[in-house]
């Protein structure tokens, strides 16, 4: 399957990765190669094959609904790029 540059731009926007004008041609070409390689899967008959999400087909186990973790906000916020009064700071979103 070939892929257009515009499609890569859309995907990059979905993935929130900026791709510069200089890079976009090369990125598109590389991803087109990978998609071409994975295209051979389309030829395989997979009717009635259940998709496998976990190699052991294991279900997630449940644990008791009790508090096991303690609040460590200060430790976690100590490694954040910008915090103030216990809040994470980002550029202004609403004018």
């Amino acid at each position: 399957m070939s892929i257009e540059q515009a499609e890569i731009e859309k995907i990059a926007e979905l993935a929130r990765i900026r791709v510069s004008h200089e890079e976009i041609g090369q990125v598109t070409a590389r991803i087109a190669e990978i998609l071409h390689m994975v295209d051979q899967l389309q030829a395989v008959d997979t009717r009635d094959v259940e998709p496998m999400a976990n190699p052991l087909d294991a279900a997630q186990f449940l644990r008791a609904d009790i508090v096991t973790e303690h609040n460590r906000r200060d430790a976690f916020q100590a490694i954040a790029p910008a915090v103030e009064k216990g809040l994470y700071l980002v550029p202004k979103v609403i004018e």
């Binding site: 892929i3 499609e7 890569i8 995907i11 990059a12 926007e13 979905l14 993935a15 929130r16 990765i17 900026r18 791709v19 510069s20 990125v27 590389r30 991803i31 190669e33 990978i34 998609l35 390689m37 994975v38 295209d39 051979q40 899967l41 389309q42 395989v44 997979t46 094959v49 259940e50 998709p51 496998m52 999400a53 976990n54 190699p55 052991l56 294991a58 997630q60 186990f61 644990r63 460590r72 430790a75 976690f76 100590a78 490694i79 954040a80 790029p81 910008a82 994470y88 980002v90 550029p91 202004k92 979103v93």
Partner: protein
């Protein structure tokens, strides 16, 4: 001291032949003197390591030694370490100092091990050559013009160069086994879920698994004993009971049936590498094992299947790196969108971005069924191939890689060529099986690895087969020339590797 195995170091510490302070100092000095030629470590905290060693000595003196008390272990820089930077080989986490220890690290601390340092790796464990690290490539101790393999290339090189007696790695598609093969050491990827993934930076959550890397199967068993077990904080960790992985190392191989998949011995396998594998298999046969031809008919589909599933899961996992809560943030973002997109543009390297984009594409509206669901269906067919084989045989064997280590730069600009390096290792992760790489000889001075694949949770049997092979051969005892020189004289040394045969 640095030529001893983990098992020998444990005995020596118990018998007070030397102290953990002496052992740890020896390795720290070797890292300081020699690692500039390999670049296998990203972070070393000498003060903390020496303090842990002194504590270990006190524990031994008090008669309270645990299984690994006083043994220095290097950890791949993917495991969160409380107070010590955990970069995952990425600019994105260059400033990340975790406020907690991952479960694997906790287990090693409880077992008394000394945290020697954090090893270099491909960025976010995505790579097969250790060239995608933000901290520069790792070089192969057997010949520093060659790659060490990846993504656990720093761990493999550090062990091979005798800068650590053993190390941890992680394996999503071959990242323990392939560098173990390229560096001439022994590496084990356990069954999916055998070792907790908590505090191990996630790449592809249905494939990732941590395991030991060391010189011998016995040393891997000693490490696995500390690593394995259920973790209530990892919802995919298995509740299947563990065992003492050292207990059955010496069992006879009489009657063992070893399957040889014809797809692993055909076109694409370097003939000299194949000859090494054949001679290792002959040795196993001489010990009473029976070699049985088998087939894994969907082998050709493992690369495309993996390169949908792994990037899809990576794109989801790596969405957490947003420049808000921890890690890299771009300079002077003009708005929130700019903060996200430029942080991720600048924080991630090319291969990581490529995989995020491929994964985002495979999961996006209109393509999910054609790519992700299709790959999950074929994943089941690939697993079924193994289940069919294990109805006939106990263990599957073949080469770990199509050939020995390649030159730095040889494949770094060709993603598809790099992906093909993992042709024999990916299926094991897709099927969730345990797999090992065991030294099996040399091609022009470059190590070759024999891959052993077992049934789910049959790690003990793989270790048994590997140990029996190592009792009868000395491939795992060869050391690269560059690592056997005295520290201090090393900087001028030729790094050209050769099998010097020094005994550990």
């Amino acid at each position: 001291m640095h030529t001893q195995s983990v098992a020998q170091l444990i005995a020596g510490l118990r018998e007070r032949q030397f102290s953990s302070v002496e052992v740890t100092r020896t390795y720290l000095d070797r890292i300081a003197a020699l690692d500039s030629q390999y670049n296998s470590f990203i972070s070393v905290d000498e003060t903390a390591a020496m303090a842990a060693a002194a504590q270990a000595d006190a524990r031994i003196a008090a008669g309270n030694a645990a299984a690994l008390t006083g043994i220095p272990i290097a950890h791949k820089d993917i495991f969160c370490t409380d107070g010590l930077r955990t970069s995952c080989g990425s600019r994105m986490l260059d400033n990340f100092v975790p406020p907690y220890d991952g479960t694997v690290i906790q287990h090693f601390k409880a077992a008394g091990a000394v945290l020697l340092g954090k090893t270099n790796m491909d960025e976010f464990a995505m790579g097969s050559s250790n060239e995608s690290s933000f901290y520069g490539p790792v070089r192969n101790p057997w010949d520093t013009r060659l790659v060490p393999g990846g993504s656990s290339g720093g761990s493999a090189a550090a062990v091979a160069a005798l800068l650590a007696p053993a190390a941890t790695g992680t394996d999503t598609g071959g990242s323990i086994r392939q560098p173990a093969a390229f560096c001439g050491i022994t590496g084990l990827k356990p069954t999916y879920g055998r070792v907790s993934r908590l505090g191990m930076v996630a790449f592809a959550s249905s494939l990732d698994q941590a395991g030991p890397m060391a010189h011998s199967a016995q040393d891997c068993a000693l490490l696995l004993n500390a690593m394995a077990g259920h973790d209530p904080l990892d919802s995919t960790s298995s509740t299947t009971s563990t065992e003492d992985y050292c207990q059955n190392l010496g069992n006879s191989l009489a009657g063992l049936r070893i399957g040889l998949p014809r797809e692993y011995f055909g076109e694409g396998l370097d003939s000299a590498t194949g000859a090494c594998i054949d001679s290792a298999l002959k040795e196993l046969e001489a010990q009473g094992a029976t070699l049985v031809p088998v087939s894994l008919p969907h082998s050709a589909l493992t690369i495309p299947t993996y390169y949908i599933i792994a990037p899809a899961e990576a794109s989801t996992n790596l969405s957490r790196f947003d420049g808000v809560r921890y890690g890299y943030r771009c300079d002077k973002p003009v708005d929130l969108h700019d903060l996200y997109t430029r942080t991720r543009q600048e924080g991630f390297g090319d291969e990581v971005k490529r995989r995020i984009l491929v994964g985002t594409y495979a999961l996006s509206a209109g393509y999910y069924d054609a790519y992700y669901k299709k790959a999950q269906q074929i994943r089941r067919l690939i697993k079924q191939d193994f289940m069919d084989c294990f109805a006939q045989v106990d263990v599957i064997a073949g080469p770990t890689t199509p050939g020995p280590a390649f030159a730095l730069g040889a494949k770094s600009n060709d993603p598809i060529a790099m992906y093909l390096e993992d042709v024999y290792t990916l299926a094991v992760n897709l099927a969730g099986l345990p797999g090992m790489s065991v030294p099996a000889g040399f091609v022009d001075g470059k190590p070759v690895g024999l891959q052993l694949i077992g049934r789910h949770f049959d790690e003990a049997r793989l270790l048994n087969v590997a140990h029996r092979l190592q009792q009868a051969t000395d491939w795992h005892l060869r050391r690269p020339e560059s690592a056997t020189l005295a520290t201090g004289a090393s900087s001028n040394a030729s790094a050209k590797g050769s099998a010097t045969g020094e005994q550990a």
